[in-house]
């Protein structure tokens, strides 16, 4: 049926973007996302799926909080720190937020230098990012110990609804895990970059395929996503 056969655009001049661009891309042959590599497409779709995971966690937390009769502990007091006598609300969380944002910045830099083919700078920025990430996890750990020492448990706490502790540990725990995984992969890839795998076209360990600097961008997507999730947690858990 002729009308179902639109032909794929040439690589040199992709069709104009905008609606007709969308139509052209989706109805072209070989690939729907014209200039997106397999790895990048996969990461995007994975992140979409992961979005649903975190959304569901937050929905669960929201439902628990909205439907309980027990008073909900006030985060801004619970997470306050005593600095020089008087207590500063949420300060630790604020710092963590800034750290994670910074890590996103450095990651973006890394990606940028990656595409300029600047091996060393790329690797350095990735390591900095990893360092920030590690710090974040460290502070999260500190936060946990603080709360636990104050008697907050997954099954209850001194100030009110038990779901407070449950949601807190669950959500920050899952986010923390994502950060940790990110750090690990950052280190692995930074090593590859530094070793010049992507210039020499060295084969990957498992897949035995060649990699290229794009992996840095893919890594970046993941990392920024982790930051993105934190933005939501910060607003919906700590500031509500």
């Amino acid at each position: 049926m002729a009308e179902t056969t639109l032909s794929g655009p040439r690589s040199e001049h992709l069709p104009p973007d905008g609606w007709e661009g969308v139509a052209a891309d989706w109805s072209s042959d070989q690939r729907a996302f014209k200039n997106v590599s397999w790895g990048k497409a996969m990461m995007w779709i994975f992140l979409l799926s992961d979005t649903f995971v975190f959304s569901c966690f937050l929905i669960g937390y929201m439902t628990a909080r909205m439907s309980t009769l027990a008073p909900w502990p006030n985060p801004s007091e619970v997470f306050a720190l005593h600095i020089g006598g008087e207590s500063v609300p949420l300060i630790l969380i604020a710092i963590m937020t800034f750290i994670l944002i910074s890590s996103s910045g450095t990651m973006a830099m890394a990606v940028n230098f990656g595409y300029r083919g600047d091996r060393v700078k790329t690797a350095v920025f990735m390591l900095i990012t990893a360092a920030f990430g590690a710090t974040f996890v460290g502070m999260q750990a500190f936060e946990w110990t603080k709360l636990i020492s104050e008697g907050v448990r997954p099954w209850g706490n001194p100030w009110g609804a038990p779901q407070f502790g449950s949601s807190f540990f669950m959500i920050t725990g899952f986010h923390g895990t994502h950060v940790t995984i990110g750090v690990i992969f950052l280190l692995i890839i930074a090593r590859k970059v530094l070793r010049g795998d992507f210039d020499t076209g060295r084969r990957g360990f498992f897949t035995s395929r060649k990699g290229n600097y794009e992996i840095v961008e893919i890594m970046g997507l993941y990392w920024h996503f982790v930051d993105l999730v934190w933005v939501f947690i910060f607003a919906l858990f700590y500031l509500w």
């Binding site: 049926m1 309980t68 009769l69 027990a70 448990r153 099954w155 209850g156 706490n157 001194p158 009110g160 609804a161 038990p162």
Partner: protein, 289 residues
Amino acid sequence: MAIALALVLVVVGSVLFHLWSPWWMTPIASNWRYIDDTILITFWITGVVFVAVILFMAYCLVRYRYRPDRQAAYEPENKKLEWGLTIATAVGVAAMLTPGLFVWNHFITVPDDAVEVEAVGQQWAWSFRLPGKDGKLGMATTNNVSDQNPLGLVSVDPNAKDDIIIQGADLHLLEGKPIKLLMRSIDVIHDFYVPEFRAKMDIVPGIVTHVWFIPTRTGTFELLCAEMCGMGHYSMRGQVVVDNAKDYQTWLDQQTTFGSTMAQAEHLKTAAVGPSQGEEHPDAARVPR
């Protein structure tokens, strides 16, 4: 060929079974005749479509079976036909949905003159509570449940005093009087289901669900638990008896109130529950001890 015959048999068989088999809805005993009507409408519409679709398919199978000398028609699409069918279907759907939604609206708006009756589910038995003289059910919470106070009533609540508690016995209802059945579970999810009443609702711990109906004929009806609630799920039965005014009174007079049972308990100096248990906030966080 054989397959076409099989399809015809399937259709005929299904219809005959539907018409003549003795297995059918239990005779209704509540005001929810509307629900039965909606079911019948749905049966008609969908039944017609089912028969039509299958018989047409059978026809195609015979008429267009393989012949070396024939070639199938090449016709990628046929807008008119496709849209026509789509719209016809939409009409069919609307014809079933519209009455359905009206009845549903009726189903969820409880009349003001409905008397409140409470059904309490627990693994694996039914208990019931009537409001007593004052016509009000007293507060009750799971946290107050104890041997003396199996339904966890709040003893400080004046409305609770004259509440009538029925345990391990049948629930009696007055014929023709609208009932708002409040449902409470003290452990897991159950479901209050009397086939003859058509109405059904889950009993969820942590909230109080409700359903309303008017018993329209006297008799004894089986109450089944219709939500998986553990090993005894299938054995969680009860009985609902619909009486005329006279029998209902005689039955009512034999029942004991919460107040009196509590009094005995106090008297025996074994009162386990008191106002002191923070029972005002049943739902408040409790760090396990």
